[in-house]
């Protein structure tokens, strides 16, 4: 759905920047009136070298409304841009105009397309282009078009040598920038640049242990290099994660990561994990820890593990679900009640479940609908 585009960010940023620019333009226009040539900005429609082109005004449809307050510079540049497009002109002046157009509205994807066509048609210096792209991204790091443009140019150059450092620089300003991370992942996969990434991720987690993107990247790197099947790797990761949890117990990402890497093997199968997590309860309690314990108990029940007293697992799991629903995580009480019912229906002794309009889910219920009590 087109609405998923980060429009809010880019429009908001544009408004911040161009609001200021609009004031400047008005001043320039006034200067222009007094001093047509000296020192002032000259509109494209007044420039001799552009005299051969007829500017194409914006067509807002069959019933144009009276236009009042377009920024004059904006209109001037884009009218001229439309003229170039119509004539399919491939020239240096066209290229220069795309720079101006991008400066006014870097989210206009048609301008970027045209610029790429020109880069190739005019055989422009792509390294110069990379410098330009870097500047734009520094200024507008959440713009989809410029990141995609960068990727295209890197591909044309077939040279990723600056990319990891560049992305690191952008991430140093906003360590969760989704576009930056996509670009980084693409570069690493495409050019097989895995060395040093785990160390980089650790640095980021030192700075902010709650950086979900960094945790995701950790998983990405290990997945594509050593994998998790080696028990020494898995052990290392579990211990690393528990260590981070001790530093900052209320950390959704760390707990998600721990859960994620243990999915395949099973939470209750990892030796000593229950003890380690239970130990953390006094000093590092959080709803996430409690939720993790519920998951662990449930896994013990599901695998019918002989290492655990099944009845104890069952009772403790229900107790924690109730604790979470009623005290620790009340905003998600519906979820905790669901887990509780699932457990009771699957592993219970057959005693009646507490009053609920939900039908009991069959075993391995995770795929089936959880009936909404309020549905007709």
């Amino acid at each position: 759905m087109s609405s998923v585009e980060e429009i809010s960010n880019s429009v908001a940023e544009d408004l911040e920047e161009d609001g200021v620019e609009e004031e400047n333009t008005v001043e320039e226009a006034e200067m222009e009136y007094e001093e047509p040539v000296k020192g002032g900005y000259i509109f494209y429609r007044d420039r001799k070298e552009w005299a051969d082109l007829e500017p194409v005004p914006q067509d807002d449809g069959p019933n144009p409304v009276v236009k009042i307050a377009y920024s004059e510079k904006f209109t001037d540049v884009f009218d001229m841009f439309r003229a170039l497009l119509q004539n399919d002109e491939k020239s240096e002046r066209a290229f220069a105009l795309t720079t101006e157009a991008i400066d006014l509205n870097a989210a206009n994807y048609t301008v970027w397309h045209y610029r790429r066509v020109l880069l190739q048609a005019l055989d422009k210096d792509l390294r110069e282009e990379m410098k330009y792209i870097t500047a734009i991204i520094e200024d507008q790091p959440k713009n989809y078009q410029v990141w995609h443009h960068r990727r295209m140019v890197v591909e044309w150059l077939n040279d990723p040598s600056e990319e990891l450092q560049f992305v690191a620089e952008i991430l140093s300003q906003d360590a969760k920038n989704y576009h930056a991370w996509q670009h980084r992942q693409w570069v690493m996969q495409e050019y097989k640049l895995w060395d040093g990434e785990l160390e980089y991720v650790e640095e980021l987690l030192e700075e902010d242990v709650r950086n979900n993107s960094a945790w995701n990247q950790r998983h990405f790197v290990i997945n594509h290099t050593s994998g998790y099947s080696d028990s020494s790797i898995l052990d290392r990761e579990v211990q690393y994660t528990l260590k981070q949890i001790k530093k900052a117990p209320h950390n959704e990402s760390a707990w998600n990561y721990l859960n994620g890497i243990l999915q395949d093997g099973g939470l209750s199968s990892f030796p000593g994990l229950l003890e380690q997590v239970t130990e953390l309860q006094d000093t590092c309690s959080s709803p996430y820890l409690t939720a993790f314990l519920v998951d662990l108990y449930e896994d013990a029940l599901e695998t019918n593990s002989s290492s655990y007293d099944q009845q104890e697992m069952f009772n403790k799991a229900l107790e924690l679900c109730k604790f979470l629903a009623e005290e620790k995580d009340t905003i998600r009480r519906e979820y905790w009640n669901y887990v509780s019912r699932s457990l009771q229906n699957t592993y219970g002794s057959g005693d009646p479940v507490s009053a609920s309009s939900d039908p009991p889910p069959p075993p391995s219920s995770s795929q089936l609908p959880d009936m909404e009590p309020s549905d007709p």
Partner: protein, 361 residues
Amino acid sequence: LLLDEHADYIAAYGSKKDDYEYTLSEYLRMSGIYWGLTVMDLMGQLSRMNREEIIEFIKSCQHDCGGISASTGHDPHLLYTLSAVQILSLYDSINVIDVDKVVDYVKGLQQEDGSFAGDKWGEIDTRFSFCAVATLSLLGKLDVINMDKAVEFVLSCMNFDGGFGCRPGSESHAGQIYCCTGFLSITGQLHQVNADLLGWWLCERQLPSGGLNGRPEKLPDVCYSWWVLAALKIIGRIHWIDKAKLRNFILACQDEETGGFADRPGDMVDPFHTLFGVAGLSLLGDEQIKPVNPVFCMPEDVLQRIGLQPDFTAHFVCLPINQTHLIQLISSLKETPGPEMGVRKGRHTKCAVLGGAQDQG
């Protein structure tokens, strides 16, 4: 809930062609129109918008390749192709454009690995997988793509936390999750989602303020009230959100003076957040607003008219398919335990909807 103010805001927005923000957002105009029309229709105010002007505008945006651009003089793109098809569906005027060419355009964007590019420049993103199947589904032409490969690609974007990102390995993000669950609903593959795990990740987006964020440790934003909520609805877990608290958050994002919704309380409003605020409230059950379809973000009655009703639990599929395939599908479904299976034909030729006992019509 200030519905009149919101309707006034949207109705006026379309006419302020001199407005600087409006000019600046020309590159997404088709989506802007879709946001405005949809929220007006949800509020029962569609008649205030200029239908003829918009239809003419859309006609002028279809290119030779079949794809549709955000505005005249812009290049075609899958995002705006979907928006255009959604608008024309709202207006029941799909045939003003060359439908076959749209279908060709969408089909041509599928890559070998099953993914979809957004346009000829090749950016790959699960958003585009969603746009592709949503467009084709509205046109009754899902069968033209390589479905297996398309599904395979989207599933390869499923992460260790049960969520989805834009490409394989990308961080789980509520917007991408909405696109992927929507995709899987349309293609009848919801059973491949771990609904409990994903439902948990999604309900974890709710912060103490009641608002929803898009990924862990980020700020809440009204648009996530749509993406998270719609995804939860699709996988049958919407009640895992504290509805009252979310409703309060959404309402706090209204601007009493100007009308419209902002991303969070106190910020500037825009049509994008206005649609998702109202659509979110609809999903939460507000009776002053028309029911909204969580897959397409369009009024349910529009989809009923077309004959499309993807349902939001693992038992329900929505596929436009041919007769032979339909017969095979019914017999294989009869083996599956679940609510009683029935078949209902929509007005859309070759489109059948298989549903359970809870279906309305």
